[in-house]
């Protein structure tokens, strides 16, 4: 398991300290850790457990119960593909296959290079644009016909490669 750096640990401590005295602070803490780090590392669960008088296994239970929490580090870029009914009927599965191929990330996993995470989500409420996907918060509609989103992924890959070569 990857070791967290001091910066991340400090952030977790700060979040835990801030919510410690609230009623039912566990979920609040988890939300903030998820927002800050993109996932819930073991160290966070241990610290939250200590502050709330529970055990890491119990906090893990909360993390695993809610779909929005994850224990796996997210990639640098997060891709959500809608698997709601409308999107599914309009070929969301094909879309997922295409993203998997382009990024190397499996569904609900992160690509080996750490660049992309691919999450299958429930209905995003944009059924008129089905099938829909989101890259880093930006919506792409009619994604099977419209090539914007594949171009965007390719652009990211190109840029990251360039950045990697320069560094």
């Amino acid at each position: 398991m990857e070791k967290l750096n001091g910066e991340a640990l400090r952030k977790i401590d700060e979040i835990v300290a801030r919510h410690k005295d609230q009623a039912g602070p566990c979920i609040e803490m988890l939300h903030e850790v998820q927002n800050e780090l993109g996932y819930i590392p073991y160290e966070a669960m241990e610290k939250i457990a200590e502050a709330t008088g529970s055990s890491p296994a119990e906090v893990y239970g909360v993390v695993m119960f809610y779909a929005q929490f994850t224990t796996e580090p997210k990639g640098k870029h997060v891709i959500n593909v809608c698997l709601g009914t409308a999107c599914y009927v309009k070929g969301a599965q094909q879309l997922i296959d295409r993203v998997e191929k382009l990024t190397g990330a499996a569904v609900n996993k992160t690509s080996p290079d750490g660049l992309f995470s691919l999450d299958a989500t429930r209905c995003l409420g944009a059924c008129g644009l089905a099938p829909v996907c989101i890259i880093d918060g930006k919506y792409y509609g009619n994604a099977l016909v419209n090539n914007d989103f594949t171009n965007e992924i390719r652009r990211i890959v190109r840029e990251e490669k360039k950045a990697g070569a320069n560094a």
Binding site: A49, S55, P56, E58, Y60, M64
Partner: protein, 535 residues
């Protein structure tokens, strides 16, 4: 259950009783609802009951029988199971889990640790340690209380029966069996006796017929422990060593302190636990006496304990040339072994005695090791006798006895008054440990046992169903405990240091308690352990 005036059925466990309430627990509607519920549990249950360790001692099976469930009414999907047996002690098979959460509550409330928790939700819900990991990768003390709480075969001990049979059948091996004191108070239950029946003689008879070359009593090791631990305590008191000193007989407790209170490790007695000391003595002194190559000796410990299975593998404990003990069987496994050899009924045997050559004698002080307070009482008997310089008039230290979570007393040791404390289960031990950590502890010597009530209630003992426990409460522990005090009372010698065979061994082999050789073979070391270790 059906309640007069209520439209829907109500759950018996959560509905408060009220004045004038009319309840039907066995109306047709109530029975049908119960039946459907159990049928639904069965629909997601791994039904290989015939080969399940809990067959015939399974609460789900019993419910099926009582409700007359004869077919699988609901067929369909199964939750993807986890089968995990990486730790030396506990096996988790979620395909049999009914999600009752008794294990979770036991670990959290009895031991105050909370290794187990629920994960995922809905149909995918599972019980297990964090990350669905193995018990060896988390801060599990391997006490096995979750195993005895489990109504089905989802949490069980890792069996060593096969290894033992293999050794028995190996003509080159001398297989020596030793039985812990608490086993005799519970083994009878596996053969239909009432809880707490003393079956020492029948147990020995049955084990001899299994083909063990020798059957000894771990109590001999317990007497050794008292000599080593008692000497260590006196040394610490006289030389200003680290106090309070903790006992070190319970391997679950050792794991706990290594995980949770590593800063207190210097307080732990360095003495190995009785069966390990005995194993070490068997492979050195006894082997020498009998002129047997120690590499051919295979020591089997029959223990009320699951943590002992991890203890024998501790690298810190391998202080001699060989592993002190080669296999550990729980009380339940011992019963299975005896039954496997065709002995369904141990009552047909006349009582037999443990083997007596060289390491056969034991005292009443060894017997009471099996219950909370026993080690303390045994230690006080010997320490007091050493300090008084004459045999004790009264060997009973009543303040050590009973089922309280924490017991304390002020003891007069040759004019010097010291406070002692006795505790069992980690939730009860925690406040004492926090005191020691804060430096405010008034005690000199603290006995700690991993399981509530001591070894008589260990994770390897005969399993008592939840329904029976609900009826008799904690009484079962008292019954088993009284059995041990009964045997103690019957013993001609009741102070460890009076064990003549052991004294001979010390004169001939170890020299004296705490000698260099004793330190090497009978003592061990501890080290802080990571609470969570996953790659």
């Amino acid at each position: 259950m059906e309640v007069k005036g209520a439209r829907a059925l109500l759950s018996a466990c959560t509905t408060p009783v009220s004045e004038g309430m009319v309840v039907w627990t066995n109306s047709e509607r109530a029975i049908r609802a119960r039946k459907t519920t159990v049928e639904l549990i069965m629909s997601n249950h791994n039904k290989n009951c015939l080969s399940c360790k809990r067959n015939l001692n399974c609460e789900l099976q019993k419910l099926c029988q009582e409700l007359g469930i004869r077919e699988n009414r609901f067929e369909g999907e199964y939750t993807e199971p986890t089968f995990e047996d990486a730790s030396p002690g506990i096996v988790r098979d979620t395909s049999k889990c009914v999600l009752c959460e008794r294990c979770i509550q036991t670990c959290k409330k009895v031991q105050g640790i909370g290794v187990l928790g629920l994960m995922n939700r809905g149909f995918k819900t599972k019980v297990g340690p964090i990350y669905d990991a193995g018990f060896n990768a988390v801060n599990c003390m391997q006490c096995g209380q979750c195993v005895t709480a489990c109504p089905v075969g989802a949490l069980t001990e890792k069996e060593s029966i096969h290894e033992v049979i293999e050794a028995i059948n190996d003509p080159d091996k001398v297989v020596i069996c030793q039985t812990a004191p608490a086993v005799r108070a519970s083994l009878g239950e596996e053969f239909g006796h009432r809880i707490g029946t003393l079956v020492t003689g029948k147990m020995v008879a049955a084990l001899k017929r299994c083909g063990f070359d020798r059957v000894y009593d771990t109590n001999y090791g317990a007497d050794m422990t008292i000599m080593e631990e008692g000497t260590e305590l006196l040394k610490r008191i006289q030389n200003g060593g680290v106090l309070p000193m903790f006992t070190s007989c319970s391997p679950g407790w050792i794991k706990y302190i290594e995980y949770e209170y590593p800063d207190l490790l210097p307080h732990l007695s360095s003495a190995k636990s009785p069966h390990m000391m005995f194993g070490a003595a068997l492979k050195t002194y006894w082997a020498q006496k009998n002129n047997i190559d120690p590499s051919k000796i295979f020591v089997v410990s029959i223990m009320p304990c699951i943590a002992k299975k991890t203890e024998i593998l501790r690298p810190e404990c391998k202080t001699g040339e060989y592993q002190d003990v080669d296999a550990v069987l729980t009380t339940r496994e011992a019963a299975r072994l005896i039954k496997m050899y065709g002995m369904d009924n141990i009552d047909i045997f006349e009582d037999e005695k443990f083997d007596q050559d060289f390491c056969g004698e034991y005292t009443g002080a060894g017997v009471i090791f099996g219950t909370s307070g026993g080690v303390m009482e045994a230690a006080l008997r010997t320490v007091k006798q050493i300090l008084d310089g004459k045999p004790l008039e009264n060997v009973d230290f009543m303040e050590c006895r009973g089922m309280a979570g924490v017991k304390e007393a002020e003891v007069d040791l040759n004019g010097q008054k010291i406070w002692i404390a006795i505790t069992s289960s980690m939730s009860c031990a925690k406040p004492l440990l926090d005191e020691v950590r804060a430096g405010t502890s008034k005690y000199t010597f603290i006995e700690v046992m991993g399981c509530p009530g001591g070894c008589i209630n260990g994770g390897g003992q005969s399993i008592i169903s939840g329904r029976k426990k609900a009826r008799i409460g904690d009484e079962y522990k008292v019954w088993r405990m009284e059995t041990l005090y009964e045997e103690d009372k019957m013993m001609p010698k009741r102070v460890s240091m009076d064990n003549a065979q052991m004294q001979d061994m010390y004169t001939e082999f170890f020299g004296e308690p705490g000698s260099e050789l004793a330190e090497k073979l009978l003592h061990t070391t501890y080290s802080p352990k990571k609470r969570f270790d996953i790659e």
